[in-house]
Symmetry: C2
Subunit: 327 residues, 2 copies
């Protein structure tokens, strides 16, 4: 079985964005989307690509760039998150073999993460297996405390209790310095890893688990730098004190990048993912295939054993997202 642990509902029917527009204009409208509209939005996109690429299941969460935690207030985010998560639930009910639900959280700048607990609990009761945690609800201004601050601890206590991991995933950027998918996403991944490296978060939460998407941002490419920084700071080796809790996905859109990831990061810490239909939608003229068809790069690796591939494609996901098994 091939499990893609990182997909967003980027093709949701336009009624969703119309609802959002009305919400931000202060109008109350009902969100009406039929099952057929949902089917239509998925059949020609994620489901078609699953079939074409030979992947089986996608862990499916609301569109990351549309979380927009920096827009409106806590109630805006709460209502929007509920609407988006409910729609994800419906996708997964319609295609239970193809999609497994992951939720966004109703974060807001300056609002304590514990305010997200109710929505996380609601979703997990509905069968969601993980959540996306935005390390920068301000959308590129980085005003809230680091992920390792006690500010976040009540949410982590609940994640541990529910046994759900979080993907560290920012939303769009309202800082003109940061292009969303080209800078803000990659920066957030790198930033989160370094926050973990400089803290004792996982002493306090030995079973807390984070997936850093987009291949870990800049981290694997600079793995020597991070090993060396940890060493200079008299921290333990990264494998010992971070890699029981921190994992990387394979959203790296060329063979040399994936080869590096597979070389420097232990196989137990790598989860297959593509983020399709996502940030990069074209076909690479150098290969003739979609940039984000990351299965080809895993298949194309010269170094993986069959056992390694099973871990990356399925077994690591079962270990890190144990609620998936429950279903």
């Amino acid at each position: 079985m091939i499990v893609d642990i990182h997909g967003h509902y980027t093709t949701a029917p336009s009624a969703l964005s119309a609802w959002r527009k009305a919400q931000l204009a202060g109008k109350t409208v009902e969100l009406r989307i039929s099952d057929d509209e949902i089917r239509e939005s998925l059949e020609g996109a994620q489901l078609k690509l699953q079939r074409e690429r030979g992947t089986d299941v996608t862990f499916f969460s609301p569109r990351a760039s549309a979380m927009e935690h920096h827009v409106g207030d806590a109630k805006t985010s709460a209502d929007w998150s509920r609407a988006c998560n409910d729609l994800i639930y419906r996708c997964c009910e319609l295609y239970p073999k193809n999609f497994v639900p992951v939720c966004q959280l109703p974060q807001s700048p300056g609002v304590a993460p514990k305010e997200s607990i109710a929505e996380l609990e609601r979703c997990v009761k509905m069968g969601f297996v993980g959540c996306n945690v935005n390390p920068d609800p301000s959308g590129g201004h980085w005003k809230d405390p680091p992920l390792t601050d006690r500010w976040w601890y009540p949410l982590y206590e609940k994640m541990v209790e529910l046994d759900v991991p979080a993907m560290v995933h920012v939303s769009s950027s309202c800082n003109p310095n940061f292009h969303a998918t080209g800078a803000h996403y990659i920066n957030a991944d790198t930033t989160a890893f370094m926050q973990f490296l400089t803290s004792d978060l996982f002493k306090d939460f030995p079973t807390l688990r984070f997936v850093i998407p987009h291949g870990g941002g800049g981290v694997p490419y600079h793995w020597g730098r991070y090993r060396g920084l940890a060493q200079d700071m008299k921290r333990p080796a990264l494998r010992e004190f971070l890699l029981k809790n921190v994992f990387f996905d394979t959203c790296v859109y060329h063979q040399p990048g994936i080869d590096l990831l597979l070389k420097v990061i232990p196989i137990d810490n790598i989860l297959f993912a593509s983020e399709m239909v996502g940030a990069v939608r074209g076909i690479d003229p150098e290969t003739g295939h979609y940039y984000d068809d990351t299965k080809r790069y895993i298949d194309g690796s010269q170094t993986l054993s069959a056992a390694d591939r099973r871990k990356i494609f399925e077994q690591n996901a079962r270990r890190i997202y144990p609620r998936w098994k429950v279903q």
Copy 2:
């Protein structure tokens, strides 16, 4: 000849930081450092490592983390930059075969980059061959306009006139989210590249040149992503519209990272650098050598020809820093 284009005076005599401390306390003191003190600060550090590693020349600039453009006001930065650059000049006068001067600029948050022109001109007249441009003078809050904004154009006009390139280099971070050398540095590199990718800056300045340090941040690892993003935006191929103006150094502290850099980035765009004595000072237990002894990784590459090595070690630097030739 082997030219390391990225070194900072991280070992300056303590009188320099004492001067800075006095400056920030509003006291006027004279900066007194003898030639012998300078020699002593270099002989056991950068010069020793040059000899041990077999490199010849270092492009030498003030300590990046100490630029601290976010501290004080424009006058604070002007005085501090002059002091630091003058000290670099003295190092290069004492060891003209070993060091070539590169300056920091007196930037300040909210202060137009054109205010840095006078110091750039002063330094170039003294023989400096390049400058460091901080894309975020606010130190991790990213409050000023992107590098591609017209805000920066007067400085670029002067850089073009003087034919000096800039290294894009942030200073320390005063945002608790960003560890300086582990997150802020790498993020800034990635951010700058994406700013360039989304702009027509190099249409306006066809001969303007930037070196993105630390191996280009997260960019080469995600080269497929950047090629794909450019393609989705209907931009020309990266090689055509960015790589005449944007270059990467080799400050990547492990063999797999350097191998990836050499594989995906054209050789003409790669400049040898180590940033020693810098962010990572230890010895890698996996190799028994200093993490930042990047010459070993270039030497260890299985794919480079002798001609490629000459480009990376010397010829690209001569092309991109033409004032070096003049000396």
